[in-house]
């Protein structure tokens, strides 16, 4: 356990050091960005729109319980969506899609000794493999959290018009009273932070993958679990920090 942790610290400092050293592999970075952002977009948009419907229904339930009417639902729901829901759901989805994919990819490269081949050619595998994915995931996390929040708010507006009978104008007015531009910026910062964690964790588990098919499976599972728990813990820390700025 301690050995793993110290390995992880050494590995992540090396990663951050390599982040600022040329050469930058821009072509690979853009390919990864396409994989992370564009190919995850349909799944994330689909899931987030369903999550928005659930949020509206649940907050309407709690409002009726507490203050007997649900006139504050638009404000509360948009607050919940912008501060927590949009970014957390999209990053958890990104973990299971991109994180598992990265761990499986890097893990099978390690098992088939392609990583050793890179090392033999004098290429640092961290700079060659991890850095493009790290940059792509960070940028992709910011973009995806922005899109996920917008889609989520739009769906919440739609469902509150259809189910609760608010016009879109009153939804937007209620929303303006509760949230501000700051919330979107904080959500994007959160998305960037979560996007940084995913490739670091999954490439770490991929690079120390044990041989055989079982090793790759174990690396994938571990990376998904550790990344999801790390996202939840980081979400708590960031929420605590941001709560002083509202």
């Amino acid at each position: 356990m301690t050995a793993t942790l110290s390995d992880f610290f050494v590995y992540s400092t090396r990663t951050f050091k390599a982040l600022f050293q040329p050469p930058f592999r821009s072509k690979d970075t853009f390919q990864q960005l396409e994989f992370v952002t564009w190919q995850s977009l349909p799944v994330i948009v689909f899931c987030v729109s369903f999550a928005a419907m659930v949020t509206i229904m649940e907050s309407s339930f709690h409002m009726k319980l507490m203050v007997q009417n649900d006139s504050l639902v638009p404000g509360f729901a948009s607050l919940l969506i912008l501060r927590e829901l949009g970014v957390v759901v999209s990053s958890l989805l990104l973990t299971s899609r991109v994180g598992a994919g990265l761990a499986a990819e890097v893990g099978s490269m390690q098992v088939t000794e392609q990583v050793d081949a890179l090392r033999m050619l004098g290429i640092d595998p961290i700079r060659f493999l991890v850095i493009p994915r790290l940059i792509a995931c960070t940028v992709g996390g910011v973009i995806l959290s922005l899109i996920a929040n917008l889609v989520c708010l739009y769906c919440a507006m739609l469902i509150s018009e259809l189910k609760l009978g608010y016009s879109s104008g009153s939804f937007l007015t209620g929303m303006r009273a509760f949230v501000s531009y700051k919330d979107l910026v904080f959500a994007m910062i959160k998305g960037g932070c979560f996007g940084t964690v995913i490739p670091i964790v999954s490439c770490f588990f991929g690079l120390r993958c044990e041989s055989g098919a079982e090793g790759v499976g174990k690396a994938t599972t571990n990376s998904v679990v550790v990344a999801s728990v790390a996202i939840i813990v980081m979400d708590f820390v960031l929420t605590y920090i941001f709560s002083h700025f509202y």
């Binding site: 369903f50 419907m53 319980l65 499986a104 998904v224 939840i232």
Partner: protein, 259 residues
Amino acid sequence: MPKLLIDVIDDVGNCLLFVREVMFTALTSPCSFASICEQIWTVTLQSLPTTALAGFFVGAIMTVQFTLQITTFGALGYLGGLSTSGTVREVGPLLIAFLLSGKVGAFTSAELGTMQVTEQIDAIRCLGANPIQEIILPRYLGIIISSFFLLAVGLVMSIFGGMLLGLVFSGINPEEYVRHIPTIVNKFSVANGMFKCLVFAFLLASICTYKGYSARGGAKGVGRAVVSTAVLTMVGIVVFDWLTSLITDTAMNVVLGNS
């Protein structure tokens, strides 16, 4: 695009046929009780630390967010009840299902996929045993039953985390925090959360055993099965979250008789 659609429909149909076969096996030739207990023990023990940690932090996050929202109304006394109600009804089952899909779902499909690819499942069939009865069914039931234990642990930890943050962040002492939980969380809320947990566990068990059992094509095929299990369970959980919310909402309106 039409081909993709047909593939999706094909996959869903195959999965349903697989579930039907598992159910049929469960009714006609059930597996031994000991093997189910073994699976429950493995699954629960495997994900207990993760679930407890995640539950603790979820409770903490809910408390911080609710504090920010309800101080403007001066209703800080209701903090404990509100955040517990939100966790029990909605967030707890959802998050535990997400974590289980990452941990147990990926592990089970990797295990079954490796067994399938290395022809161990064919070997079992050769020995005259039914692989669904011997291998799939204990895992299937084990995941469903142990998800309830994990839900209980996660919810208790979330109340504990919320209580701690209520003390540290919003200045509510634990007695005050606990006092409003029974007034807001009623038995319908708990039943709602348990129903959701059951549905998610059922979905997760079906997808991961199906994907693992139908893995083909070497180590790459196992990797593909694992990744598609993770993505599919996440999507399925979110969709069924909405569906169960709709069902319980309607059911409660019918039972209580209001609008």
